[in-house]
Amino acid sequence: MIHAMIRPLLTVGEQSKDLPKFPESQTFWMPSDASVTTRNVDWVYYFMYWMSAVSCVLILGAMIYFCVKYKAKSRAANEHAAKSSDHSTVLEITWSVLPLFVVIALFVWGFKGYVDLRTPPKDSIEIHATAQKWKWLFTYPGGLVDDSLHVPADRPVRMVINSVDVLHALYIPNFRVKMDAVPGRYTDLWFQATNTGDYPVFCAEYCGTSHSNMLSHVTVHPPGGYEAWIDEQQKKTLDMPPEELGKLLYEKQGCSTCHTTDGTPKIGPTWKGLFGKTESFADGTSGKVDENYIRQSVLEPTAKVVQGFAPSMPTYQGKLKDAEINGIIEYIKSLK
């Protein structure tokens, strides 16, 4: 409603093509709810919302009313306030104890909801979320890795979260869940999606340059759809020519966050025309970009950083198989 009334004034600025999109929400404040635990969170939220609205009307109403009713005529009129009491123990105790009951109720409500959010059911599907600058990678039970999250509806899913570099946070507003990704330890969250569809996934903990582009989306599949999607993805990579596999990994593994294929430098050097080029490195040495250099850069990215770029790439040691590294090498070769 109000949203539609206040149209954007300007709409310049770059837009990336496939941004995730929120489905239409029924309410003005919260995004649409799509998980079993959301209902409880929204109830407390709207309870507090109305409690706050009523409190504001009472407190600020009294303030404005007093300002009008007891407004002084002028300084010169020298009016004096009528003698009235300057304390009332009964009143003080009343307005201390009544809010105390309200906040105790809210605390208990919030506590119960929080325990629910932090206690995944035992039969949950486990999907690993790995955060890195600036990409989410999701590892599915069969070993499939993808940059978007796919889950079945009506089944609990436990996300096991960690980070390879700095702090990030996995945030899915439509499920009302969020958990930090902490390097060096695992954290988790769970949800049970109720409505099929596509929902945005954000990084909520500041992580540097492309923090705001560290987006993904979660697709909630109807029964059978999740398994079918996994099958399809796994088949896709079998018997794929190395060059095509490399292109797929470029998009799915986060390479495209920092490297372009059109010749413009981004956070890292472009891949176009990279193979065979002689680069000078931050440590003063220089060398030719060949198969060995690319392999080393994938596994030990900070060993030989091209001059003028920050050493911000995470290692892919243990994340990419040899065949996949070969694919990436072949893909880079193809970008002349």
Binding site: F22, V44, R75, N78, A81, G110, F111, Y114, T209, S212
Partner: protein, 561 residues
């Protein structure tokens, strides 16, 4: 009310030279640089803090301008990250923390105690120069390669980023000592230098608030000092404390950081409570309702503020048990805070309310602080916080409290005590217009951010989904209105120094001691130490407005001729 001009006045020749004041007592730049006078130190603090406020405000406007459109509007992502970091760090460490205590507190608190100065004048001057050195370090980061970690310096980002984190963190470390010096000085001053007759419960509420603040400054600030030092050590010597790649623990940093930074939000807001508690009774011509409850609730907030730091970490992976305890104690803080609001409103009941600029700011404070306080309850509810944490809802909440609460009160205090500090009246009409602009501006800026946050817009985002654009633009328009309000304030306050009307000793009819000396006060504050025979908000009926001088005088003196 005993007035200074009753008995022994004839014997004091200084009374005749009306122009003698702390501003004219000594001349030359050196008399300012080496001054030990609390009022001059306060004025230097005020100028420095307001300059930092202008700089931090400029960064805020750049950030808001960038957010007019998703993607690039005027700067790239890295510059944007540096801008919001500098905005936050400057506003927190250079403006709000020293703002009310070190600037207004230094000028006014010794006067309210009828004292000649603070307990340790040299330490007071040292505190100011530590502020200057700290500010230089922090701003040197801006010149070298501005820090981009957010004002929170979260590890391991802060220990691995390429920007100049060390000067900024070291600046904050030094600023911490400045804050400790002020706090220590105020505690001793309040304990030892109250005049005869001023018992604890006859102290003005501003003094109570500064006392509670000083306790937090002295007890909490060393922790941030050590934390930032450890971060610097990790960055420079690669000793693993916080970065897991070196064997450290990043969550430990968050515990250390918030162990200071949560109490620090009370360093920022409790002095604001003090200012508002001075303005409301004076402009309502009525004794403060529930004085003792307001006084003691400041101490309660100061104490409880030490026990809630974990509520910043409900989604950090902290255990459910720890979260539960932090959440429960957080709710307790709602009670003393609510008590204050109820008592302020009750003070206005059946008062005689004058709506000049300081009171307008106090009313604006009540409005925005009520909203800021109530939205704090949303964030204390753990299940709801999981959704709202690190979104614009949090940004809106703390700006309502920090910008809406602390800065509004600072503005109110500056207008309330301007005549006392500088002996000039500003143009009231402009004051009211600017106060209205600030009030409208801050609501238009920050209210849409509650909607953005609830709808899932994460904070510290350079780029955002197109559907958030209209609310972002509304917020930016609000920021421009705010900027205009402050620009106007700067202009008429500056003009008042040049050609403002000469201020009477007591323009608002206050009965605390600072109003019993001339405006501006003489070098030694009082010709005779005023005796204290009643509470700080008593005796309004013994004062009478004298139209000719534009201020209040004791009834007795008027009757003499």
């Amino acid at each position: 009310m005993a007035s200074p001009s009753t008995t022994a006045d004839a014997a004091i020749p200084r009374e005749t030279s009306a122009d003698e004041s702390y501003l004219t007592h000594d001349k030359g730049i050196l008399s300012w640089i080496f001054t030990l006078d609390h009022k001059r130190i306060g004025v230097m603090y005020l100028c420095s803090v307001l300059s930092a406020f202008a700089l931090g405000g400029l960064f805020a406007l750049l950030v808001r301008t960038e957010l007019l459109t998703p993607g690039r509007t005027i700067m790239d992502a890295d510059t944007y990250n540096q801008m919001f970091t500098l905005h936050g760090a400057i506003m927190v460490f250079l403006v709000i923390i020293p703002g009310i205590p070190a600037a207004l507190g230094n000028i006014i608190m010794p006067l309210q105690l009828g004292a000649k100065d603070v307990a340790f004048p040299r330490m007071n001057l040292a505190s100011y120069y530590l502020w200057v050195i700290g500010a230089c370090f922090m701003l040197s980061s801006l010149v070298i390669n501005a820090v981009d970690t957010g004002w929170t310096f979260y590890a391991p980002y802060s220990t691995t980023t390429q920007t100049a984190v060390v000067p900024a963190a070291f600046g904050a470390f030094i600023l911490g000592f400045s804050s400790i010096f002020t706090g220590l000085n105020f505690i001793v001053t309040i304990h030892k230098m109250r005049p005869p007759g001023m018992s604890w419960f006859r102290m003005p509420l501003f003094v109570w608030a500064l006392y509670a603040t000083a306790l937090i400054q002295v007890l909490a600030t060393p922790v941030i000092g050590i934390t930032l030092l450890m971060m610097i050590v990790e960055r420079t010597l690669h000793i693993g404390i916080f970065d897991p790649a070196l064997g450290g623990d990043p969550v430990l940093f968050q515990h250390f950081f918030w162990f200071y930074s949560h109490p620090a939000v009370y360093i920022m807001i409790v002095p604001a409570f003090g200012v508002v508690s001075e303005i409301i009774p004076v402009f309502s011509r009525k004794r403060m309702f529930g004085y003792k409850f307001i006084a003691v609730s400041s101490l309660a907030i100061a104490f409880l503020g030490f026990l809630v730091w974990g509520h910043h970490m409900f989604t950090s992976g902290q255990s459910v048990l720890a979260g539960t305890i932090f959440s429960a104690i957080t709710f307790l803080i709602a009670i003393p805070t609510a008590i204050k609001v109820f008592n302020w409103i009750s003070t206005m009941y059946k008062g005689v309310i004058h709506l000049e600029t300081p009171m307008l700011y106090a009313l604006a404070f009540l409005w925005v602080f009520t909203i800021g306080g109530l939205t704090g309850i949303f964030l204390a509810v753990m299940s709801v916080d999981v959704h709202l944490h690190d979104t614009y809802f949090v940004v809106a909440h703390f700006h309502y409290v920090m910008m809406g609460g602390a800065i509004t009160a600072l503005m109110g205090g500056i207008h309330y005590w301007w005549s006392k500090a500088f002996g000039r009246m500003y143009e009231e009409k402009y004051g009211r217009i600017a106060a209205a602009l600030v009030f409208i501006g801050l609501n238009v800026t920050f209210f849409p951010q509650f909607i953005l946050g609830t709808r899932g817009m994460p904070r510290r985002y350079y780029n955002y989904l197109p559907e958030f654009q209209s609310l972002h633009q509304l917020s930016t328009i609000g920021a421009y209105i705010l900027g205009l309000g402050f620009l106007m304030t700067a202009a008429y306050l500056y003009a008042s120094l040049k050609n403002g009307k000469k201020a009477p000793a007591n323009p608002w009819g206050g009965s605390t001691l600072e109003w019993q000396t001339t405006s501006p006060p003489p070098y030694y504050n009082f010709h005779n130490a005023p005796p204290v025979t009643q509470g700080p908000y008593d005796g309004y009926e013994d004062l009478e407005f004298d139209e000719k001088m534009g201020g209040y005088v004791a009834k007795a003196t008027k009757a003499t001729p």
